[in-house]
């Protein structure tokens, strides 16, 4: 089921949606499922489950550490699908965010089929553009899955039009030039990018890269339909002295952000 329903509900409540990211297998298989559920309990409207990959070249040190830990722990694609299944069972739309090669290797059609049967809503593909994404676009349409591509500050209007034309679910606006990781300041170009994107689509526009606290979430919620948070959740888990405290910290952060998007 498309994540757009979560965006629609948030819109009906006159607020932005909160989207939380966490890699499967981090800090462990069970730990990730519990943490994602804590994010839902804290108020996330959509969950993105990261598919751990050996060469995450769009990710900063925090996500790299988490993904490395997940891979070292032996996470496999079957575990990723099981994670999606467990999280989607909460009723919150659950996407997978993945670099392209694991999908390509698994078989694009087979991946789409297994994602659907796990209850997944679709894919976010940070290193795939519509030009190279033909096989995925066809599979997503065949299995009724969301296709979330990224637009960037450097994207031309022509490219934004091309990208938004093939998106389903929402459009992921990368708010600053750089890799993932919480920043102290939200880039001022972000609002302009969202505005430019809206010229070409009626899909919701979610803004990611750099948001780490309630105040930033509130700021982004002023102009975007969704606020995407990843590294800050991972940071809470990495810094917690115990798993229980990590889960508490994640739930609290989600609640703080959920309050932020409602300001």
């Amino acid at each position: 089921m498309s994540v757009q329903r979560a965006y629609d509900r948030a819109k009906a409540e006159n607020r932005a949606a909160l989207v939380g990211y966490l890699p499967a297998g981090f800090p462990s298989y069970e730990g990730a499922v519990k943490a994602a559920k804590a994010m839902v309990e804290g108020g996330c409207d959509v969950i993105e489950i990261g598919l751990p990959y050996t060469d995450p070249l769009m990710d900063g040190p925090t996500i790299q550490d988490a993904v490395h830990q997940a891979l070292t722990g032996g996470i496999r694609l079957a575990d990723v699908f099981r994670t999606v299944e467990a999280v989607a069972a909460t009723g919150v739309p659950t996407l997978v965010m993945t670099y392209y090669n694991p999908v390509d290797r698994y078989g694009v059609d087979r991946f789409a089929r297994d994602l659907l049967s796990a209850g997944g809503a679709g894919l976010i593909t940070p290193d795939l553009t519509p030009e190279e994404g033909g096989e995925w676009l066809a599979a997503a349409d065949a299995y009724d899955l969301d296709k979330v591509f990224l637009v960037a500050l450097s994207s031309t209007d022509e490219r934004i039009e091309k990208i938004t034309n093939v998106c389903r679910g929402f459009v992921y606006a990368a708010s600053l030039m750089g890799v993932t990781g919480a920043r102290t300041v939200v880039d001022t170009g972000a609002a302009h990018l969202v505005e430019r994107t809206r010229k070409f689509t009626s899909l919701p526009v979610g803004l990611g890269l750099g948001v780490g606290n309630g105040a930033q979430a509130a700021e982004v919620a002023q102009f975007a339909d969704g606020v995407i948070v990843g590294s800050a959740f991972i940071r809470r888990l990495l810094d917690a002295p115990s798993e229980a405290e990590g889960l508490t910290a994640v739930r609290e952060l989600a609640a703080e952000l959920a309050e932020g998007v409602r300001r």
Binding site: D55, H68, R76, R105, T129, E132, L150, S154, S155, T156
Partner: protein
Amino acid sequence: MTIDAVRSASAVPDESGHFGLFGGRFAPEALMAALDHLAKEFAAAQQAPEFLAELDDLFTNYAGRPSLLTEAKRFSAHAGGARVLLKREDLNHTGSHKVNNVLGQALLTKRMGKTRIIAETGAGQHGVATATAAALLDLECTVYMGEVDIERQALNVARMRMLGAEVIPVRTGSRTLKDACNEAFRDWVASVDHTHYCIGTVMGPDPFPMMVRQFQRVIGVEAREQVLALTGKLPDAVVACVGGGSNAIGIFHAFIPDEGVRLYGFEAAGDGVETGRHAATITAGSVGVIHGMRTYLLQDDEGQTIESHSISAGLDYPGVGPEHSWLHDTGRADYRPITDAEAMDAFALLCRTEGIIPAIESAHALAGALKVGRELGPEATLVVCLSGRGDKDMHTAAEYFGFMEAGQ
């Protein structure tokens, strides 16, 4: 020439950067504008007389081109008597073929109005070449290098720092070339406004494989003329080592239309392909996507990259340039593995028979030439790309051959 004209001058890549099913542009959206800009500027530069003249002047009066074609008579005796001709890229300024590509891309960086250049490096040869060009053309320079490689190529690290480059150790993953590429891409995504990523080989998203080929093809153009002048005919085989594959594409490209000339690429087999500890991407890999391109790569059944292993830092990479994948699939070139031990034997042999210390990377081509020479026999002529010199490898070689005594 327009960009289309540059592309159509060769059969590949097509207008979307594909070499058959290989290549393409699997890049983050944040880089797409920069890749388009680069492709346009590259194409414009190819038809700009002042750009071509400046590059030509640097090749001749700075890098020392044309490089020699040296007949290796005593070495030939070990190659089944086949006539072995060495294309001496080791004699270029900075000690390898890498300078050809870097001078081209550094001039392009200036042309694009960018002030900073970044690079990944394995053996350090590309890093040294980039640091050199940056010093010459007054560009800020950052080089990413895996921690393992920093250890085994200490001399080149010192050279880069002397030249004013910042060398950033990469401590993630296998801590070798692959991870240095990841870090360079991460830097570029954040700095693309004022920074050019000078990729060191024929890999990465379009237009890099085509552009680097264009700057390296001088090797084969010269070699073809030189071998014709020396022997009156085309060679029977052209031999090169392949990591990412820029020296190989460089020397192959001018010979691709010459159907009678066999092309051989030798990959690093490390401890042996059967051990799993190798970098023989085409020999033992499968098709996937890495670093912006579709190509053969070393990956497991779920698409996770398998770490490569080679005594040669410059060949220690789990992917390969997409044009090599295409040349392999079309059967135009033949790719074979060479183990660490075979490469080091050939390394010692060239030292002792010709008084030339090759880079360990190039020693893989030499080991391959010994095999090809024995196969083709004494009537055959082989052109071997001696892609770099081995000064940087003295520590590794001394350890390998046991020249390092306790306390020395």
